[in-house]
């Protein structure tokens, strides 16, 4: 009886450590250099994703907008918030790029063409980025202390049981979608 108690206690401690302690120990948070409200841009300014995350003339994806893109509207502070003041004074006026921490940054051995996925396959941005475009503030960036990758690559849930299509950006997730759509890519289609 006593032995059984200790056996189950050890198992329970391990389960607790694995499912609750591990994510806490593995992921560290880092604040974004500036807060940003996607909602204000989308709802108030009536912009859409491609207004800032646009495609260049050659069809390649420009990714995170550069500061001159922000400067087109924010050359002068728009509003009185401390955040707006910081944007103009610290970045727009000295023409300094904002060091955004990118939640969906893929490792360097991967290449991903937004042009093919958005324009050709007509996937919605939400398919991989969820409701990010509707958020009022930027959540803290979380990174894995061992691999250095963003938490969004593994997905929020440590079990990798996905509740929505945008949870997880590992190779398996890409392959699931490719299988579902019947799109062949081959190794060199995504890896360099």
């Amino acid at each position: 009886m006593r032995s059984g108690f200790f056996f189950f206690a050890g198992a329970a401690l391990m389960l607790l450590g694995g499912w609750v302690g591990l994510p806490k120990a593995l992921y560290k948070q880092q604040a974004q250099p500036l807060d940003f409200t996607h909602k204000a841009h989308v709802v108030k300014a009536e912009m859409d994703c491609t207004s800032c995350h646009d495609f260049r003339q050659d069809g390649s994806f420009a990714g995170i907008p550069r500061i001159d893109n922000c400067a087109a509207c924010h050359a002068e502070p728009v509003g009185t918030t401390a955040n707006e003041k910081k944007l103009v004074e610290k970045y727009v006026t000295p023409e300094k790029e904002i060091g955004w921490l990118v939640y969906s940054r893929q490792p360097i051995n991967t290449r991903f063409s937004h042009a093919i996925h958005v324009r050709k396959a007509e996937l919605k941005c939400e398919r991989c980025h969820g409701e990010h475009g509707k958020t009022e503030t930027l959540r803290p960036f979380e990174y894995n202390v061992v691999s250095g990758y963003s938490r969004d690559i593994w997905g929020r849930s440590i079990s990798r049981l996905r509740r929505a299509s945008h949870e997880g950006m590992k190779m398996d997730d890409c392959m699931d979608c490719h299988k579902e759509k019947g799109a062949e890519a081959g190794c060199l289609g995504c890896h360099r």
């Binding site: 206690a9 050890g10 329970a12 391990m14 591990l22 894995n144 061992v146 691999s147 250095g148 079990s159």
Partner: protein, 667 residues
């Protein structure tokens, strides 16, 4: 009170539960990623991404490419829209070539690093006093080729030469049979059947890229005849394996079968008939190791799905055919009624950059005192024996090369030329009216010297005047202006005649567009069949009879064939291409000798054995691969970027090295 047993049970419970937690799986994943991201592994710096349109100049197929840049660094190469499918593994890694280990960053004199001025002084000293200087341009038809020609004519005693240009060999033989009145081209867009005799049309053959797409749609039937089961053979509907060196006999046998079906009216028919009569199908069958019915069946396939064309020219590794073989392959086109017919061989206008040049093998033996060999753009694999044959005793060889490979490593001096992407490069398929320009996307290292800079310095040292505008950019713009004033062809989807100024054409070209002119010239082509004169007849019969497979050299019982592809003449291959080659066996990696298992068994050899392949000229260590597709009693040597095994081949007086006799032993 905790007992030892309680602690053991606690530990046991934890270990039993461990697989039910994410710990082992997650940590395994993270640790494996961590090992790929150690801080000492270099990471490319972030920067602004852009894509520069260009053209691949690594082989003469000239595929359109996009070079992806991060700031001013090329980071990858990808195919561009108009590329017929994709680019090859060689091009995928071409941006790595400037960092290749055998890349030269400084000129060499007698194997030691030297300044360009020291090399110029040494070459000028060797060339002074009316000694014979020859230039060997491996990629003729470029604007740089015109600068070489200008230099040779300023020199007076200079000869500008090129290797045999394989893709135009059959056409040139036909042009001669048409009395030299017209320039010709294959009408790849409309041909229904194509018989390639040794010619790798789907594997880097300039100008034939359209065939790949037509073949995929089933719009053209491809038949390949040759001694090796090459990529072309694999992609053709029918492969006809020929005994090594029997292409001429094959052509005569096929001519006999075509004539038996009723030949069209053509000048010289009677003389040709008498050649065919003296070389019956049975004889061709014995020499080629084909059944006599195969010739008749093939003749029916060609005439039953016309227009049909026959293409020779040889391949990039085993080199060209003798002139007689080409003449007979040209004659097959006349017998098929394909000359001057849509879908066959049609007339074409001359292109503004075209010039007649001497072939290297036309120079008298032992006549060249100073050789300037341009190896900056891979053109043709040439065995050292082909070069040495023409060199006088003590000749001074200076190679203009990016790599310390091939015969650049045997030269007295080497001019370290810029690597691909570091300088203007061009793709001009001589005689095919296609021209494209690859702009420099990378700064070249300081010690490198452009070929035009070297020629200008040499002219200065020799007191020659080369005239105004002796620089590659000027010459490229000149050529664009000449094309514009001729109002020929189109570039970037726009006819040149609609371009207001030559500058518009130049702009399109320098942004990666290809100029091409696919117009046919209305020409009255009246070809005559060869063999009308007795000496012509005897010459052709001698060529056909000279490759009896039984005439084996004593002690060297195997037919050695060089295999490779369009880029076999390239000085170096990027690591990615090597990896793909070695790991996928898409191409036989360099340094492999392949044999039929039956032949290998007879010699007591097995796959993977290190072997020594020996010929009268030398030996080469290779690893043995067994392949059912290799003909019995033959051994195939795969060439590497520096054409390694080619030193085993003897070059004949006609400039060919189709095969050598060899023996293979365990090393």
């Amino acid at each position: 009170m905790l007992k030892r047993r309680d602690i053991m049970m606690l530990g046991g419970g934890s270990i039993a539960a461990l697989p039910l937690t994410p710990i082992p799986y997650k940590l395994l994943d993270d640790v494996s990623i961590w090992t790929q991201n150690w801080p000492w592994i270099p990471v490319p710096m972030a920067g602004a991404a852009s894509v520069k349109n260009s053209v691949c100049t690594l082989c003469r197929a000239g595929c359109p490419i996009g070079v992806r840049m991060i700031d001013d660094r090329p980071v990858s190469v990808m195919p561009r829209g108009e590329a017929p499918g994709a680019i090859c593994a060689l091009a995928c890694g071409s941006h790595q070539l400037p960092w290749h280990p055998s890349r030269l960053r400084t000129c060499l004199l007698d194997g030691k690093p030297a300044g360009c001025d020291m090399v110029v002084e040494a070459v000028a000293k060797a060339a002074s006093g009316g000694r014979t200087v020859a230039i060997l341009d491996e990629r003729p038809g470029r604007a740089m080729s015109s600068l070489y020609r200008r230099f040779a004519s300023a020199l007076g005693s200079g000869a500008y030469t090129t290797p045999v240009i394989q893709e135009t060999e059959t056409l040139e033989a036909l042009e001669r049979l048409c009395g030299g009145k017209a320039k010709l081209r294959f009408d790849w867009a409309n041909a229904q059947t194509v018989l390639s005799v040794g010619a790798p049309l789907l594997d880097g053959w300039p100008g034939a890229a359209g065939l790949i797409a037509r073949r995929a749609k089933g719009a053209v039937k491809l038949i390949h005849a040759g001694p090796d089961y090459s990529r072309q053979a694999q992609l053709s509907e029918r492969f006809i394996p020929l005994a090594p060196g029997s292409e001429c006999a094959f052509a005569l046998g096929l001519a006999g079968a075509l004539m038996a079906q009723g030949a069209p009216e053509a000048e010289g028919l009677r003389g040709f008939e008498s050649i065919v009569t003296r070389f019956p199908i049975e004889r061709a069958s014995a020499m080629t190791a084909l059944k006599p019915e195969t010739f008749n069946e093939l003749a029916r396939m060609l005439t039953g799905n016309s227009p049909a064309v026959v293409v020779g020219g040889g391949d990039f590794a085993s080199g060209p055919f003798e002139a007689g073989t080409e003449e007979l392959l040209a004659a097959l086109n006349i017998l098929l009624g394909s000359v001057g017919r849509e879908g066959g061989i049609v007339g074409r206008p001359e292109w503004p950059g075209e010039a007649v040049s001497k072939r290297w093998n036309e120079l008298p033996d032992a006549s060249v005192d100073v050789l300037i060999a341009d190896r900056t753009a891979a053109g043709f694999a040439l065995p050292p024996s082909a070069i040495e044959r023409k060199l006088a005793k003590g000749a001074f060889v200076v190679a203009v090369s990016t790599w310390n490979e091939g015969y650049a490593s045997r030269a007295r001096a080497v001019i370290a030329a810029p690597a691909p992407m570091e300088d203007w490069a061009e793709n001009a398929a001589a005689g095919l009216a296609r021209w494209s320009v690859a702009p420099a996307v990378l700064k070249r290292p300081e010690g490198t010297v452009r070929p035009d800079e070297f020629l200008a310095a040499l002219a200065g040292a020799l007191g020659l005047s080369l005239g105004e505008g002796f620089a590659i950019e000027d010459e490229l713009k000149n050529l664009a202006a000449r094309i514009h004033s001729a109002k020929r062809g189109e570039a970037a989807g726009q006819p040149v005649k609609e371009m207001a100024a030559a500058g518009d054409l130049w702009k399109a070209l320098s942004e990666g567009a290809e100029w091409s002119d696919s117009n046919a010239a209305a020409t009255d082509l009246r070809p005559r069949l060869p063999g009308a004169k007795p000496d012509e007849m005897e010459r052709l019969l001698t060529v056909a009879n000279s490759h009896l497979p039984k005439s084996k050299h004593e002690g060297f019982p195997l037919a050695l064939l060089a295999t490779g592809w369009a880029a076999s003449g390239a000085g170096a291959k990027p690591p990615l291409a090597m990896k793909v080659e070695v790991e996928s066996l898409l191409r036989r990696p360099a340094g492999r000798a392949a044999m039929n298992p039956v032949t290998a068994n007879g010699l007591g050899l097995k796959a993977g054995d290190p072997v020594k392949v020996e010929t009268h000229r030398g030996e080469q260590r290779m690893i043995l691969a067994l392949d059912d597709a290799v003909l019995p009693n033959a051994v195939e040597a795969a060439l590497d970027g520096a054409c390694g095994a080619l030193h085993l081949f003897e070059t004949g007086p006609d400039g060919t090295w189709r095969q050598a006799w060899a023996r293979v032993r365990r090393a």
